[in-house]
Symmetry: none
Subunit: 209 residues, 4 copies
């Protein structure tokens, strides 16, 4: 996949790429992302074929392929869109309060927005396409993990958390159960239902002293 060739939030690269001809239609872009999200919510992931997205969005298939290299890239950008404003870290809170709220926010994101189906689609496609897997890791997972990592470092510095935490392992303990439940569905993924998971995290990382 190697990431969308272009994306909307042009990350300020000064070398603008020959601005000639008809500019990209913003209408198309948002219609495509919306159609993809809707189809995944309505008919499951299998319903969001490229043909179906193009039809629903009133867009030519080539337009999709022009801007995104694969269905997963569309999903990834859709995910970014949906999740864009849902990663606010609670200010002036303890590390454990911030982490708890973060876990609840991820849960709400997965259950109350198209982010859940979009993420499931991404993980599914990532299993057979390493490029998609890498894009998910680099563009989705790592940025989010960085948020929690900062909280953890702060908590370790303040003495609230153990000072011998393995950061990678701790992040896995925090996130893994949420993705595990999203993908396997063996247990509910709801705000209340994850409190026991938060407790497990607390016991594992708060200083025992």
């Amino acid at each position: 996949m190697e990431a969308p060739r272009r994306s909307s939030e042009a990350q300020g690269d000064s070398t603008e790429p020959r601005r000639v001809g008809r500019p990209r239609s913003e209408r198309s872009r948002s219609a495509i992302l919306a159609a993809a999200g809707e189809l995944m919510l309505e008919g499951g992931l299998g319903a969001a074929t490229i043909d179906a997205i193009a039809l629903r969005a009133g867009v030519g298939k080539a337009t999709i392929y022009k801007w995104w290299p694969s269905r997963a890239a569309v999903a990834l950008e859709g995910l970014m869109l949906v999740a864009s404003d849902s990663w606010n870290v609670t200010e002036g809170a303890t590390a454990m309060e911030a982490l708890s709220e973060h876990m609840r926010a991820v849960t709400r994101l997965f259950t109350e927005t198209p982010a859940g189906p979009l993420m499931r689609s991404l993980v599914a496609d990532a299993q057979s396409d390493p490029a998609i897997a890498e894009a998910v890791r680099e563009q989705w997972l790592e940025p989010r993990r960085a948020v929690s990592q900062a909280i953890l470092r702060e908590g370790m510095a303040s003495g609230e958390l153990r000072d011998d935490l393995d950061l990678e392992a701790t992040l896995d303990i925090i996130y893994a159960p949420l993705y595990y439940r999203l993908l396997l569905g063996h247990a509910p993924l709801e705000e209340q239902a994850i409190e026991p998971l938060i407790d497990m995290v607390r016991r594992a990382i708060v200083g025992s002293g």
Copy 2:
């Protein structure tokens, strides 16, 4: 999906089903499972198409569809086969020792056998087919979780583990990171690499006294 209509481990049902006609060929069954496993190892999950499995196994496609309702059902049975003897619980060990060894065994299973690719294929397909998701949960996840659950109960009774553990959450803490790493690949899934994860589990579930 509703599981293979028949499987190998004929569970001794006394009402034998009219033994007429040519019996099922054991050769076909094992060739199909073997071909599926090989193809997943060689060419990734995308390479294990039904056509390719049939070709590799020297088998008609209809034979596959006769005994398994979907590609995922083949993978599930292949998984059972590969994993059949790898779930031995360490006898006479503490709960934490047993759980540690269990986590290492799962890790080895995923990394050193076709079980890893098979499981990845199953989870991927489960995202767009609820029947597959249910089969994975009922035939794979739950039986394995039952093993750990027994260990946990024993540890709680003996006082080795906290007596206020939420079993579901504990099981998620144990298994989720392994599947998370298998599916996302953001961190290594090796026997040494998971020691920090085992530590996290230990801190979360061993009595703090």
Copy 3:
């Protein structure tokens, strides 16, 4: 195809082939022929698959292949059965009367018995299998043409018919329109509807003197 390996009307070959073991079941043979005829009448020729015939007849497929080399062979024998007693030549009649009645008999055979669908099946299969074509010619066409040929020779000898008839061409003029209508269905194939065809034959072969 090369003709049924064995058929019912055992033509008394003295070298009997070791008459031990269970003899052929007459029940199977007639059930197969009946099922084939019924299926062709009911669902068109496409419905008379070997699988369907075996199912309808309550017979194993192998039993069919044991005694007939192809679906066409079954049809051919079914045709013989249906047509067995319908080729009586009118005695003591003029050649033209005999031929007229013969054409009407063929017409009745094709429209009022399974012989029509059976013949259509045979001709269809003969287009892609030369062996079937040959069997149809040798076992069906030629014997019937011989009947008309005898009538023609007699009529030529008696002076009723022209004495310069080309026999092959005459036989084609007699039979071809009937098969043409059976196979293409562009015009009705009924006893009354073929009177004009009989007239054409009369004009072509009766002496003009």
Copy 4:
């Protein structure tokens, strides 16, 4: 079958069907027709499977199914193509001369071009599919019969032919033997071999006075 949804000879329907999108590829159309004809000549009718045609033509199977509803429809259009310029009526000739030449032209068409195999394929398929049968009658048989019918009417008007001819029966006498020999192969279908058939027709339809 209901005939190709569109064909080449666009019959000038004023309601043009929204000319947007990529137009149909003429290359594909002719490659498919050519491949079908070649395969029938080379390997018999059984060799002209849709898979084989698509492979030979370098075309996706869906492209064939998009424009033709069945293998027979492809054959029918191939037949039109092959036969397109072979139905010229001899001008300024007697009716009997015109009919004779017409019968010879049909014979040449069946023996010296792919039209023979194509027609055999069509008739074979027509036996189990009424839609194909109707297409053959309406799109092939009737237009050709109309040619002969015109000749017959003229000949009857001029007094060259009997004035009491039954047209349907006469057309059958003319065409049936040719198709009969094509389909059954009991007698040669060559230009010389059909002279006796032409004689039979002459005797049947030329005024006896």
